[in-house]
Amino acid sequence: MVQMTYRDALKQALRDAMTEDDSVVVIGEEVGRYGGAYGVTKGLYEEFGAARMIDTPISEPAIIGAAVGAAMSGLRPVAELMYVDFIGMTMDQLGNQAAKIRYMFGGQIGVPMVLRTQGGTGRSAGAQHSQSLEAYVLHTPGLRLVMPATVSDAYHLLRQSLRQPDPVVFIEHKALYTLKEEVDLSAPPPAWGKAAVRRTGDDLVIVTYSRQVHHALKAAEELSKQGLEATVIDLRCLNPLDFDTVRQHVERVGRVMVVSEGVMTAGVGAELSARIHEECFDFLAEPVIRLCGEDIPISVSVDLEANSVPTSQAVQQVAARLLAERSAA
């Protein structure tokens, strides 16, 4: 076990993968000499050289497209999109090409690439640099989707993503890079796609992922002081989705909140809520409550930004109310 930041765990995962597998190359803006906009790849250029840490022009569509071609040609590219907010200009290469090639070509070939990117609020970076756009990816068949919340998952899930035969979109959270935790780098990786139950309690299930896992855990600690015990499920992977774990806890507890930083409407929260209702209807005492990002763009103003997405306090308050109203009923 070592102490390490989320940022360093990601770097270590890249380093180990690159050491182990010569076909792994990193391709993106400022990934090489600069070391990555958030410092994740710092040092790897020196270790692996310009041929494997490929600094690109500022051409997101062609970066993804080049990664697709590289992946079809025997390389295992990690394409980096500096902000998930830029995914809009790449959705053709990602959604019409990477995601569909195996299918359209009748299974002849796959596109084993990883798209690493980061999203979320927290830096007053404004409407075009603070979004959580994972729902676009989740709605695109053919793309796997991973969103690690912990340092250990940052390492292990990136390693695993780099072993997948299909394109994986791997979204980090900009507010987590400095998170420091214990991690066992040599531990066996979690089963691919398996959710993690971060906390178990009988009063409420909170289903979430990425940074909101930490908000949910903090909220759960507070609730516990009031005698209310929450189960917190960290999905980690959204595709494949480990619904069995969700089902098991929902059926046991019967009250559920889904928490996501992405905007509510037609977001990940909608999918989770719909599925839970569909599959666990008879076990639900109450409707599943979605606590998600507001259906608005993100402001630069510190206050407006902070209140545009679920805060730990909001998770706690809504959870408490959900439980209070119910015991009263």
Partner: protein
């Protein structure tokens, strides 16, 4: 992977730039194949009407594809039948794919606009204008690394000159000295729009030059000229100098099968079709005394018979099984999408 006979013929021709007969043969095969695609549609056996015939573009397809070697890769646009055929495709599997059949290259999932074959380095046709272009940058990175002199070629139409991703890709190829070639088959039209209505009049290859590529424009009438220009560009690319080649030709028929080209005049069509690379090569062969018309007629008939068989093959081929629908979204053995019906069954059958 053994190269089919057609490729072998083309490869031999590659060594002798003056040998027109094999090039003629390839062009005639493309022409006849495309005519059969038209028939397949008329007989209601094509899956849909999104069929884009490359008639008139045979010299472009053959002139370049005949120079490609094992290990080379390429992508094409939606009008890519001729290119793939010239590269050595099995016309039966192509036609079956166009008909949406299990025996097709992509098991009926891709169709005319999404044919691919890893065996021949075909990384895929594309229904997105410009969509297949950046892949050659990635393929070029891999080739450069492998260091075996393989190139990757992006084929596209004049319409793709209007897609930003082309310029991003050219910039990368030039910057990184990739063994990559961009081939623009300028058939003067993008659907109903003439090139002049889409681009302010300058030679297209000037754009390639401005991005630092080894770029030229060649007339697409005489396959030998196309081949000569392609040789220059491709040889340089194998040496690490990426290139751009614009080939000027004419789209003989409508954009797709339903389009009767009402937006262009009879004169325009007449003039355009007068530049027929297949007829031109035929006349040249006779003129040079390399073949007489009896010989060529026999060759043409042999090809006609071969291509006739593609339709029968397609009609006799099988529909892909319905459950193949859920196959190949992800790799075999990986978590699969659940069918809607199965999910609903499960929900309705609970308790």
């Amino acid at each position: 992977m053994t190269a089919p006979i057609e490729t072998a013929v083309a490869d031999r021709a590659a060594r002798s730039n003056t040998e027109l007969l094999p090039l003629y043969r390839q062009m005639r095969r493309v022409r006849t194949f495309e005519e059969r695609v038209g028939e397949l549609f008329v007989r209601g056996q094509s899956a849909g009407s999104m069929l884009h015939l490359s008639i008139g573009e045979e010299a472009a397809a053959v002139g370049v594809a005949s120079l490609m070697q094992e290990g080379d890769t390429f992508t094409t646009h939606h009008r890519g039948h001729g290119i793939f055929l010239a590269r050595g495709a099995d016309p039966k599997r192509m036609m079956a794919e166009i008909g949406g059949k299990e025996e097709g290259y992509c098991r009926g999932k891709g169709g005319s606009m999404h044919i691919a074959d890893m065996g021949l380095g075909h990384l895929g046709a594309n229904a997105i204008v410009g969509g297949g272009i950046p892949a050659v940058v990635g393929a070029g990175l891999a080739s450069k690394r492998a260091g075996k002199g393989a190139i990757s070629v992006a084929f596209f139409g004049d319409g793709a000159m209007q897609q930003g991703i082309l310029y991003e890709s050219m910039n990368m190829a030039a910057l990184w000295d990739l063994p990559v070639v961009f081939v623009c088959i300028n058939n003067q039209y993008g659907m109903g729009t003439r090139i002049e209505q889409a681009t302010k009049g300058r030679a297209l290859h000037e754009r390639g030059l401005a991005f630092g590529l080894n770029a030229e424009t060649v007339d697409g009438l005489d396959v030998r000229e196309v081949r000569a220009a392609a040789t220059r560009v491709i040889d340089a690319a194998r040496g690490g100098t990426p290139g751009f080649l614009a080939i000027e030709c004419y789209r003989f028929y409508g954009h797709a099968r339903m389009d009767k080209s009402p937006y262009r005049s009879a004169e325009d069509e007449e003039q355009g079709r007068a530049k027929d690379p297949v007829q031109f090569a035929r006349a040249a062969l006779i003129e040079m005394g390399e073949a007489d018309s009896t010989h060529l007629d026999a060759l043409d008939q042999e090809i006609a018979a071969e291509m006739d068989a593609t339709i029968d093959f397609t009609i006799a081929a099988s529909e892909p099984p319905l459950n193949s629908m859920f196959r190949d979204v992800y790799a075999p053995g990986e978590p699969e999408p659940e069918a809607v019906a199965a999910r609903i069954d499960r929900i309705l059958a609970r308790e």
